[in-house]
Symmetry: C3
Subunit: 213 residues, 3 copies
């Protein structure tokens, strides 16, 4: 039993690091597209990777931050940003973005779930906990776009992203309501969020737009 | 006596909900003008409605947030944003804005006063408490404009807005200084801020601009 | 001994006020370049002067803020912003900027050092404490540029600024590691950061850019 529990923990940590790396690279690519210098590239990488979780921790007043406890992750992301800035060329930008779609969807599902689970176990009301999950999963990208002086793509690209995290959160809340065990709710939230994100990308679904005329 | 007190409380809560709704709609309109999708519209609505109070609570380290205690308000604003996104058309935008001027001025007066009163009763120095009031009343709009990738209109439209909140705050501080009861100071702050905002709109007053040549 | 200690303290406070004033004026100049009104000018001045330290205090959960304890500094910066807005003309902007280079480098060195020293004495890991120092020294300018709707110059002007703070922080950490006294580490961090910033400006050093083709 303990072996399975440990394996499960290790798998989750491994996936979370993969998601963090994908988010960091998305920040590096955004900064390179804006022709920032190496400082801007690293800050964008950090904001994309740690911004959502840090904002959540500020909102629920939780310290120390994840990255303040594990400075090795901080240094790892720094090295990753520097490596990307050194080895990526401008004509790689578009292909890198396509490669990122799957790990980015993983990051969304994992960050959303950890944020939601954390707020839920702190006893926050369901609507607030779900919102914290969505913020954890998506606001790293919002902060990244803001410092790049763009309207956040979360708000205007008409592809479901926050909506996937919202649906995952509702599934988690419903399962918990019906008495499912914690681990099942967590796994379902990850699978639904990440799966729905990949499905919508594959099927090219669009969010309804507001009638502009 | 208790009946009057209860009536006063209910009136205040009712006005505050009206102010929150006005701020949320201002966020929806700003997002629609930028042709955001439904996620962007809702986030802009939330930022405009809850951003100022949340920023104040982060600055004075107060938890839980107003909206984390009352998830029904959170859901109400979400429904309001979705309703606006569904029923408003682009050619309604300008007329909606004019309709919003009065409830928005109410929201400014009420949020400014609650922020100031809260900081004051926590024992912060007068200048800090007044600044907290101004931030509570105005920074929802600043955050809304920032995610819309605009210079915040608070900073450049030359119409008194923060200045009205500042004057209201000074009136509150002066009345408290001269020993007026808490309720009189609160009422005066709301009336002065909202009244001055409406008066300046009606008389078309402008803030001095910096000589640009 | 006590006299020397007191003199040292007074010198530090005096330098810190000079740095704060330089940062505030940089905010005023940025706002004037964007033709903001007097409210925008003051907010930009405040953000540039107090933004980095406030962000640090939010991240390490420290209250009250420096400016909430010393409302006289708050009022002083307000008067400085109003005076600049009144007396500076548009054609002064460029020459003011050159005059600001030295006090701004002082502010960078001092803010970076106080932020780092504070986090270090709170027991945070070295990499985190150094990052807090860099954030304290540089993010006032980042917030200033964000509300001016610009990509922060920290991220794109290819002149070492954050890098100077980083090098100063590493020197502090290395000296402390080798058992140097607190005052020596603090003095070295200020001197290295400010000196390196002035040197790089004088020699016109550039950060490596990413190959864009």
């Amino acid at each position: 039993m303990i072996a399975i529990e440990t394996l499960r923990q290790h798998t989750l940590v491994g996936l979370e690091l993969l998601g963090t790396a994908a988010f960091a690279v998305s920040g590096v690519l955004a900064a390179m597209r804006k022709r920032m210098d190496v400082v801007g590239i690293c800050v964008c990488g950090f904001l994309a990777a740690f911004g959502g979780g840090t904002l959540r921790d500020v909102l629920i007043d939780r310290r120390p931050f994840f990255w303040a406890e594990h400075q090795v992750v901080l240094l790892g992301v720094l090295l990753l940003c520097l490596a990307c800035a050194t080895f990526l060329k401008r004509h790689d930008l578009e292909s890198s973005e396509k490669l990122l779609a799957v790990p980015d969807a993983l990051g969304l599902g994992l960050f959303c779930t950890t944020g939601l689970h954390l707020s839920w176990t702190l006893g926050q009301p369901p609507a607030v906990a779900i919102m914290m999950g969505v913020i954890t999963g998506t606001f790293g990208g919002v902060l990244r776009d803001l410092v790049c002086n763009e309207i956040p793509s979360l708000f205007r690209d008409h592809r479901p992203y926050a909506v996937c995290a919202l649906v995952g959160g509702v599934v988690y809340a419903a399962l918990t309501w019906f008495g499912a065990s914690e681990w099942i709710a967590v796994a379902a939230c990850i699978l639904v969020t990440t799966g729905m994100r990949l499905l919508t990308l594959w099927l090219d679904w669009k969010l309804p737009s507001v009638d502009a005329d």
